[in-house]
């Protein structure tokens, strides 16, 4: 090959290479531009006070008929008024869209008075007709019942005799009628929707609503932006904007808080909370949580038709064995070591954050940590140790319990390690079965023990209902609402009684008796009530309402209190500016680094050239 020829080709290749590079760069820059969000926020002036909340969970849908995830329902709380709300002090039902509500003498008809001072953000007045339409649509359209269908399952008929009067007729009495957590949507907007199962309400902004905030913009896994509703009947929120910003990584969110990129972060780990506590400009809110964290036992899965399925270990059918397992778990250690103090030791089913329903076992009923006692109980039940020190089941094989755990939950894995050693000391093997999605073996009853946890609502009906026989699947092929196949006659009888009891005190008493019964069965070992560990920047948020007010959580409240009540700190005006400065510093640094690299290469190149010449 001739060198001259090479020369020509080389030039061509270099040009091609350059063109390719330039094209790639142009493509890159070009891609940035169309990503520009909607230009309706052009009025963004300096000193705008923005409240930025770090979130991780993706929005499943912005349609109130479909949304089930916490992040989405929280947004709906902020953008749509529900019939009732809960008092931030003590969780009792307070007026929302309805100013008053009362049952008829036969307990089957509820009449709500709808307020006349609430308007949709497009200017139209909110009437009882909107509420009636919302409920009726959920009762008649399967797609619209996706998220909140259970609330209307017992509804016979919903009507709006006048703009301020809503009437709901029931099939049978229901004590939870002041706790209908259903967003009421504007009929004039939503009646144009064709298929409720496909409409996600995320194409046209701002979204018409009547809550304290108006949803103005949303970009998947990037942000959700809300503007205050200036005409909100309870009074407008004080921040100029509320932004839910996505950090898929918890550490990234905390780092963002440390830098002031976000105002609020929830779900802190103990190490993060400890690191943030030492900061002047951050307040860590370590409040009693609304969740219980339990170890559930497979009681022998069965369907309503009596058919048994699944393969839970036969030994777990013995109450003594369940009690022994209960006694082998040191709940104090779980709280101290795994939660590092950011939890309350578990006892009754409902967390103490809801004092009117929370229950504690008496001194003689209480099951305390007692490994020796546990070993005794197991011996009594006939599960004795073999020559290798392993306890043997009725089938003659050493017992190994499969513990279902959530792979995404660090607590499950940590407690699992402890269970392995605690049960191991008793002579019982543990195999930790961690999965991203536990629902398959769970629903099939193919587990022995499982980590379980629910967030409890101010009205405990739901978390109580999931342990009734009525919640079992009709046949093994169906899905039930049941949590872990518990079916106990005594418990069920109490459940029916509380549901029909319209007197709050008497109902609470029945609920406590249910918890006592559940405790005695030993099916659910409530190990801890994890705290809500959150933090916010005090130089951005001056004050914010927790729920309960005395000591409570901020994110995921039953109501819009936190974000509605938050007041900006005086110095906050500069936060936007400091972010800008950060950007500029960052870019200057980037340019300096690039320039440095350029100089470095140029120098090296010269050096090369020189020593060659």
């Amino acid at each position: 090959m001739d060198a001259q020829d090479q020369y020509g080709t080389g030039g061509a290749v270099r040009r091609l290479f350059l063109v390719a590079g330039a094209a790639a760069l142009t493509l890159t820059v070009g891609l940035v531009t169309p990503l520009n969000p909607a230009p309706q926020r052009a009025e963004a002036e300096n000193g705008k006070r923005v409240l930025t909340v770090a979130v991780a969970q993706s929005v499943d849908s912005l349609s109130p008929f479909l949304a089930a995830r916490l992040v989405s329902t929280s947004i709906h709380r902020l953008t749509y008024e529900y019939l009732t709300n809960y008092d931030p002090k003590d969780n009792h039902a307070v007026p929302g869209l309805a100013t008053a509500w009362k049952p008829s003498a036969d307990k089957l008809t509820w009449t709500y008075t709808i307020r006349d001072d609430s308007t949709w953000s497009d200017g139209k007045r909110v009437t009882a007709e909107d509420a009636a339409w919302t409920f009726t649509t959920m009762m008649t359209d399967e797609g619209a019942a996706t998220a909140n269908g259970s609330f209307v399952a017992n509804f016979e008929k919903v009507t709006a005799p006048s703009p301020t009067k809503l009437v709901i007729e029931l099939k049978k009495p229901q004590a939870t009628m002041a706790a209908l957590d259903v967003p009421i949507v504007p009929k004039h907007v939503w009646e144009k929707v064709g298929d409720f199962s496909k409409f996600n309400n995320d194409k046209k902004f701002p979204v018409v609503g009547n809550g304290p905030f108006v949803l103005t913009d949303y970009k998947t896994d990037s942000y959700v932006r809300l503007k205050p509703n200036k005409s909100f009947w309870r009074g407008a929120p004080k921040f100029d904007e509320l932004v839910f910003k996505y950090y898929k990584d918890g550490d990234a969110a905390v780092a963002a808080l440390q830098k002031g990129e976000v105002s609020f972060v929830s779900g802190l780990t103990p190490a993060q909370a400890a690191a943030l506590k030492s900061r002047q400009d951050v307040r860590v809110n370590d409040a009693p949580g609304r969740r219980f964290y339990a170890l559930a036992t497979n009681p022998g899965a069965r369907a309503k038709n009596g058919e048994r399925f699944g393969d839970g270990h036969e030994s777990l059918l013995h109450q003594k064995v369940r009690r022994a397992l209960f006694m082998a778990v040191d709940r104090r250690t779980v709280v101290d070591k795994v939660f590092q103090g950011h939890a309350v030791e578990g006892e009754g089913y409902i967390p103490p954050r809801f004092p009117e329903y929370s229950w504690k076992p008496g001194q003689d009923q209480r099951i305390t940590y007692d490994p020796a006692g546990a070993a005794r109980l197991l011996d009594e039940a006939g599960y004795r140790k073999n020559g290798d020190g392993r306890r043997v089941g009725k089938d003659g094989k050493p017992i190994t319990y499969r513990v279902l755990c959530h792979a995404t939950d660090p607590q499950d894995k940590a407690v699992g390690q402890y269970l392995k050693e605690w049960f191991g000391d008793l002579g019982i093997g543990v195999s930790l079965d961690c999965r991203d999605n536990v629902s398959d073996p769970w629903l099939a009853g193919e587990y022995d023990l499982a980590f379980d946890g629910w967030s409890v609502n101010p009205d405990p009906d739901f978390v109580l209902s999931i342990h009734t026989c009525g919640a079992l699947p009709a046949t093994p092929e169906d899905t039930g609402a049941t949590d872990n196949f518990i079916c106990d006659k005594k418990y069920d009888a109490l459940y029916e009684r509380q549901l029909a009891e319209y007197d709050a005190t008497r109902r609470a008493d029945i609920v406590k008796r249910m918890e006592s019964r559940l405790y005695d069965t030993g099916y659910m070992n409530v190990m801890a009530y994890p705290n809500a560990v959150e933090a916010y920047r005090t130089d951005q948020i001056a004050s914010i309402t927790t729920m309960p007010e005395a000591a409570g959580n901020i994110y995921g409240q039953d109501g819009y209190w936190s974000w509605w009540s938050a007041t900006p700190a005086a110095s906050d005006g500069s936060s936007g500016g400091s972010a800008q400065t950060g950007v500029i510093i960052g870019i200057v640094a980037g340019v300096v680094v690039l320039a440095g690299l350029g100089v470095f290469f140029a120098v090296r190149r010269r050096a090369t050239t020189e020593d060659r010449e």
Binding site: A255, A271, R435
Partner: protein, 321 residues
């Protein structure tokens, strides 16, 4: 010199001395053994000239020693959470040179103990991967016709699969255990080996002595196991070393994504624990740095060894000495 990829051990590379046909006269076994010993000595003599290769080998020996003696030095008790000696996430001190983890266990002990799992998974996955690759490569090179076409189609198809994505899917589909991780890595990384081995097989089988072996009545099995396999072994060895490095990184990756066995201590698992415990934003660097460093050093050591082996087998590559 067409478009052959630059460093790939090509079919046309100088034939290693070991595979030169030797007259099958007196005492073929003894002769073969002597020949092999001689070529091994030659190999080592050349390998020794690669400084980075020696460094890699030294590092590996050190890590292997640490992993094998772990039961004596730290003991399996280091994994126990109930008997954890320290407080959660203590910073490095005289008692805990690398600090403690979220349960208060000594991180130095865990990193040492984790070496066992990480190295074991890396080795097993690489062996599985190379075994599949060698099997498919040799058979596809030996049997021509539709079988070879089919095998190479499958290989090509696996080549275009995004490895990490496929491994993640496999690790999700199967239950969480070390076996799953080994399998997920093994079945996604073999195609390169298969192609390389096939090319080498084709070259070997084109040599006259194979013709002779066939004429003397050597069957498929005889040809493949006695003539082809010994000739592709050096290539397979180099390939294994390189793949172990990838497999160790892959194990760490899967563990980091939460797809490993959560009850087993491995380096990737420690990183995942550190991240879940919020060590990054809490500034607990001692939880994060040692496991990552260990992964990087071992992966580097295997890569350096692999490069040195490659370079000994194919001196034309100017691997830095």
């Amino acid at each position: 010199m067409t478009t052959k990829d630059p460093d790939e051990p090509a079919a046309s590379r100088p034939v290693p001395a070991a595979s030169r046909p030797v007259p099958a006269e007196a005492g073929p076994r003894a002769l073969a053994r002597r020949r092999r010993r001689a070529s091994a000595a030659r190999f080592w003599a050349r390998y020794r000239t690669h400084r980075s290769g020696l460094f890699g080998l030294g590092a590996l020996a050190l890590f292997a020693l640490v992993a094998l003696t772990a039961p004596l030095t730290v003991g399996s008790g280091v994994q126990s959470v109930t008997d954890a000696p320290g407080r959660p996430m203590e910073s490095p001190s005289a008692e805990f040179p690398l600090g403690t983890d979220q349960f208060g266990r000594s991180l130095l002990g865990l990193v040492v103990w984790g070496a066992r799992v990480s190295l074991l998974v890396g080795l097993l996955a690489a062996v599985l991967s190379v075994a599949i690759g060698t099997l498919i490569g040799i058979t596809a090179g030996h049997f021509r016709g539709w079988f070879a076409t089919l095998m190479m189609r499958i290989t090509d198809w696996f080549l275009v699969m995004p490895t990490l994505v496929l491994a993640i899917v496999l690790a999700t589909v199967l239950s969480r255990s070390l076996g799953t991780v080994v399998l997920a890595i093994g079945v996604t990384t073999w195609p390169t080996t298969a192609r390389l081995v096939r090319a080498q097989t084709l070259a070997v089988e084109a040599r006259p002595y194979i013709e002779r072996a066939r004429a003397l009545g050597g069957g498929h099995w005889h040809v493949m196991s006695r003539h082809v396999l010994p000739n592709v072994m050096p290539l397979v060895l180099a390939q294994t070393t390189l793949i172990i490095s990838s497999a160790i990184l892959a194990e760490a990756t899967l563990a980091f994504l939460g797809l490993g066995d959560p009850t087993v201590v491995s380096w990737g698992g420690l990183l995942q624990d550190a991240r879940e415990a919020g060590a990054v934003s809490a500034g607990k660097w001692w939880y994060l740095v040692p496991p990552g460093l260990a992964i990087a050093v071992v992966a580097l050591a295997f890569t350096l060894c692999g490069r040195a082996v490659e370079s000994v087998l194919n001196p034309r590559l100017g691997v830095a000495r």
